[in-house]
């Protein structure tokens, strides 16, 4: 049996819908991972010990265990303690928190690298520690960390394929659906790959724009 791409157009609507879900889950999880990353970084650096210690444990849990396992735990495991999340929400939370922990590591280093004269100048004007952090230190730290966070976000896009296992009909699962009907795995996996590649290109272009904008103030 040779390759036959003529079956692809018939399932294009399924694939396109899958691609839209992939984009949606990536945007939602990336947003969560960005703001979650900032919050985690502030907690890791400045929260009192009783908050910081359990937090370190959770961070370790998210960095030290497979994302796949975390998704299973959030989607199938939490039901047992009465938390029944829709698959999409479970996927966003799993992906988002997982990458938030990675982003937090980057942002922590970046916060510590902001010149301490910046905090001094802000405090001298009368800003509180929190205000100085929010208005002066974090914006600079985030600006410096846009390129590596961008790399994390591209990893996030690719890892979003994992949420197919908890039943979110994103791009990978949609391809599998089409394969189930046509028995043409090569064709549809290639199509899915092309879509991932296109989304990836768009993301990189977007990131470059953000980078240019944030670097303008240097």
């Amino acid at each position: 049996m040779g390759l036959d791409f003529t079956v692809v157009p018939k399932f294009m609507d399924v694939i396109l819908l899958g691609a839209l879900w992939t984009i949606a889950i990536t945007i939602a999880a990336a947003t969560l991972s960005f703001f979650g990353g900032i919050m985690f970084a502030v907690i890791a650096l400045y929260a009192p010990l009783p908050v910081r210690l359990p937090f370190r444990f959770f961070a370790w849990l998210f960095m030290g265990t497979p994302l796949l396992l975390q998704l299973f735990l959030i989607y199938f495991g939490l039901v047992q303690i009465g938390i029944d999340l829709p698959a999409f929400v479970a996927g966003v939370i799993g992906l988002g928190l997982h990458f938030a922990v990675y982003n937090s590591e980057l942002i922590q280093a970046s916060i510590l690298a902001v010149d301490k004269g910046q905090t001094e100048a802000a405090r001298t004007l009368g800003l509180s520690r929190m205000q100085a952090l929010r208005k002066v230190v974090i914006p600079q730290a985030v600006r410096d960390v846009v390129p590596p966070i961008g790399n994390n976000m591209i990893a996030l896009l690719k890892d979003s394929a994992l949420v197919s296992v908890i039943g979110v009909s994103e791009l990978t699962l949609s391809a599998q659906l089409a394969i189930g009907r046509t028995y043409r795995p090569f064709e549809f996996y290639v199509v899915a790959a092309v879509f991932y590649y296109i989304i990836n290109l768009c993301m990189e272009a977007g990131l470059r724009r953000i980078e240019r904008r944030t670097q303008a103030s240097r």
């Binding site: 010149d115 004269g117 910046q118 001094e120 100048a121 802000a122 405090r123 001298t124 004007l125 009368g126 800003l127 509180s128 520690r129 205000q131 208005k135 002066v136 914006p139 600079q140 600006r143 303008a216 103030s217 240097r218």
Partner: protein, 257 residues
Amino acid sequence: MTDQKPFVDIRNAQKSYGSLEVLKDISLQVQRGQIVAIIGPSGSGKSTLLRAINDLDPLTGGEVWLEDMQINRKLPHRQYEAHINQVRQDIGMVFQHFNLFPHLSVRGNITLAPRLLKHLSEAEANALAEEQLEKVGMLDRIDYFPSRLSGGQKQRVAIARALAMKPKVMLFDEATSALDPELVDEVNQVMKKLAEEHMTMIIVTHEMGFAESVCDRVLFMDQGVVVEEGPPEVIFRDPQNERTRNFLRKHLEGSNR
């Protein structure tokens, strides 16, 4: 001096890092509108003393008063934070390395604190920024980012930023030391203008000429003590203390090289 109550009053300031004593029982009274220069070799404790006034470097002993308020009074942590944030609004500070916020425009640098702490509207804050920038001659750069300014321009913006909080006293920590020689004067001119407006100023400086022409009083510090103090014409023309004489001689040789 007069028998008037001092405006800034440092009483028996002590500061030590472990066994290293940086400030050894220093007292300094500054009257309203007075301009005091602190000179001395590096490591003499002059910056530490200045930074103790707004509690950037907290003292380990002694008191700092601004008018009728003790700045470094003992309070529980949270109350102290609220207290010191309030006090610092009244004390402007200018740093050697400017410390402008690089992610904000000149306008943003100046309006940040007034908007956040005094709850000015955008229009009020803008008017304030324009007024202060006009004073330091930087109004035409209001929408520039700090990275596009020269050192002297940065420092003038930093002064405008401090003035926008309408401080009662201004502290200058070697404000011209990081500048190229040809840029020093524009900053000195701004400081002179403030002096003419009777701003109370405490200035840590290496610019002896400037200290002599602008200041009412000069303190010479060395190894954590005030060795000699007096009017500039006495300190610079006829210093009584051997250490003062040595310092000034070395400094003059250094700057003529």
